[in-house]
Each structure stands twice: as C-alpha cells, then as structure tokens.
Symmetry: C2
Subunit: 165 residues, 2 copies
DNA sequence: ATTATTATGTTATAATATTGCAATAGGAGA
DNA sequence: TCTCCTATTGCAATATTATAACATAATAAT
C-alpha cells in the first residue's frame, strides 16, 4: 500500500453510499442553479454510473434502464449521456467506448483516467500541470489545445497483487 | 508563427514525398530485420496512412484499398491495421476511431497527439516526461501504468488564422 | 517433403452510434 | 389561463465501427 494521500477515490476504500448520495445531491443542486432539467432518465443514468467506479457502455446502461422500467431505445441512453457529459457530470472513456461518472463535478478540470485492465475500475484524477512538456510542444507549432484526453491503462494495486500469485 | 524547433512535423511545411519515402524505407528495413511480413495489403495501408498527416477510418481505408484493386472486406483493413499498430507503424486515435501513421517508427515512445478539429490533421509528439504529476498520482494508489493515451483536440495555427476572419 | 505457422478470402453478425420526424411536456410571457 | 416557444421524449430506421468463425492459401521451419 502506498502512503500518499488518495487523490482519486476509486481505488481506495470508502463509504460508497455517502459517495453516491453526495454526488446526486451535488448534481441536483447544480441543475437547479443552472436551470438544467435533471429528468428521470438523466437522473437514473447518473445514478447507474455512480453506482460503480467503472465505465459502463451505452448498451449496458440501456439494459439497466429497461430493467428500471424506462424506454429502451438507444437514443434514450445516448441523449442522457450527452446531457451528463456536456454538463460535466460524466466523462466518456474513449478507449472503452464507455462512460464514467465525474469525480469532480461542478469544477473546471482537465481529467485524466487510470483504467485497470483487470477489474475495469476507472479512477479519475486531475492532469492539471502534468502536460507541461506536451503543451510546450504544442506551442511550437502554434497549436491551441482546447481539450485533452488522458487515459492510462494499467493494473491497480489489488489486481496486481492477485496477479503475483 | 512560433520559434521553437518543430518537434512534430505534421503542422510544418516539409518535403512530404521525402517524408513518405523515408517512412516506407524504414518500415521495409524494420520488417526485414524483425522477420515481419510487409505483405501487399499491409504495405498499401501503410502507404495510405502516410499519404496524409491525418487519421483515416478503417472503412475509408477499405474504400481506398478497393480502388487499388484489393479485396475490400472489413477484415482486410482491420487486419492490416492491427499489424501496423502492433508493430509500431501506426497508432489508433481513440477519439476519432481512426488510425494515423506513426511519426517515430522503430523507437520506443509514448505518443501524444494534437488533433485539429478543423482540418483533422494529426500531429504526433512525445509525451516523455510530461506525465510527471500524473504518474506520481498513480503511485499514490499503487496503480501501475502500462500504456497512456494522450489526445489533445484543438485548432492548428493555420486553421486558427482562418477562423479569425 | 512434411508439418506448423502465418496470412488471406469470405460470410455473417455483433457492437456502437446517429438521423429524422412525430408527439409531448415544461417554461415564459400575454 | 392561454398561447407560443423550446426542450425533451418516443419511435423506427439506419449508419458506422468492429469482430467471429471457418475455409483456403502462402510461407517458414523441420
Ligand atoms: Zn464511491
Ligand atoms: Zn483492478
Ligand atoms: Zn509529411
Ligand atoms: Zn487545422
């Protein structure tokens, strides 16, 4: 086990019910403040994403929506996900064609993800200044970065221990 | 215009015929050295990718293969692309579901991409030490990074100038 | 030459995502 | 409230991206 402070919660033990409840409350509040409609389908999809610190594919979400009594055509899921991504409640994980709840909703941030190839947990952390060299290089050619995707594939601590055996 | 040296060539003016020829030569040599079969389909796909400093989708490549007289079933393109990616001649750009020729074939490197949303040029650069903060964060939770994808969307110098108008 | 490995041909299908249009609900102002 | 406008949803079809499965052919290894 490492001794740094847990910047990203996904791989750490934590009170996940509180984790989830807090996030839903935050979303609720943010929507009221910004006059956004957190409709039943959107709320449900966010709940589903918050349920696990893993990325879910659109069709997985669609199945879960169906189980919950929602209409189950693809646009239902994609529209809800679009809403959540556009408003910062979720992120799309490109390499998985999947979606994960944002760990820092409501704050301006440039996320980076650590994706365990074994248990598929997705931990979000901030890339912040981490791209110093990279953005310097960008400057050389006059390229203006608007959004950066950082996705690291690897293996989390507990999965690594299991692999050792 | 900036004054740094051009670390990535895609946005810079250059002798592209030489650029392409050199890359094909390098691929040829690498394959002979490593007993890899640079078969006609694989060679053609690599040529197509090298033709432009842009990412091409598998089905675009498939169309171009057909025009060049190759069999045009999806597996033809995907297999060739798999070969090229596995052996470091090309990279997959996740956010575009597309592929681009590697700018640094034969060298061990952790690529980062700058993708112009306007002209869709893809410039490859090295992320090298750029992820310092990020990997430090990774250490905190004991996560071991095996591969990192960095894709920056933005606008290149010349497209930005056009937008100004 | 025989065998094993690697690559290709071919068909079908899976998985992911979008379009278009009609119907409905929610919010703002008269 | 009523009307208008916009945002959201319902629904059917289709587009796009990617893989599975199995037969055949080419190449390499023995
Ligand atoms: Zn949690
Ligand atoms: Zn894990
Ligand atoms: Zn070039
Ligand atoms: Zn451009």
């Amino acid at each position: 086990m490492s001794d740094g402070k847990p910047i990203s919660i996904a791989f750490e033990q934590h009170d996940h019910n509180a984790c989830l409840g807090k996030a839903m409350q935050a979303a609720q509040g943010y929507c009221e403040e910004h006059k956004l409609q957190l409709t039943p389908a959107r709320r449900k999809v966010l709940e589903l994403l918050l349920q696990e610190h893993r990325a879910l594919g659109a069709y997985t979400i669609l199945d879960l929506l169906r189980e919950a009594g929602f209409n189950s055509q693809p646009p239902v899921a994609y529209r809800a996900l679009d809403f959540l991504v556009e408003n910062g409640f979720a992120h799309r994980i490109e390499r998985l064609n999947a979606f994960v709840a944002c760990a820092l909703p409501g704050t301006e941030h440039s996320p980076a993800f650590m994706i365990c190839r074994q248990c598929e947990t997705v931990a979000e952390t901030q890339s912040s200044e981490s791209n110093f060299n990279f953005s310097t290089t960008a400057d050389f050619s006059g390229f203006k970065i608007e959004q950066t995707i950082i996705e690291a594939k690897g293996v989390c601590n507990s999965c690594a221990e299991i692999e050792q055996l």
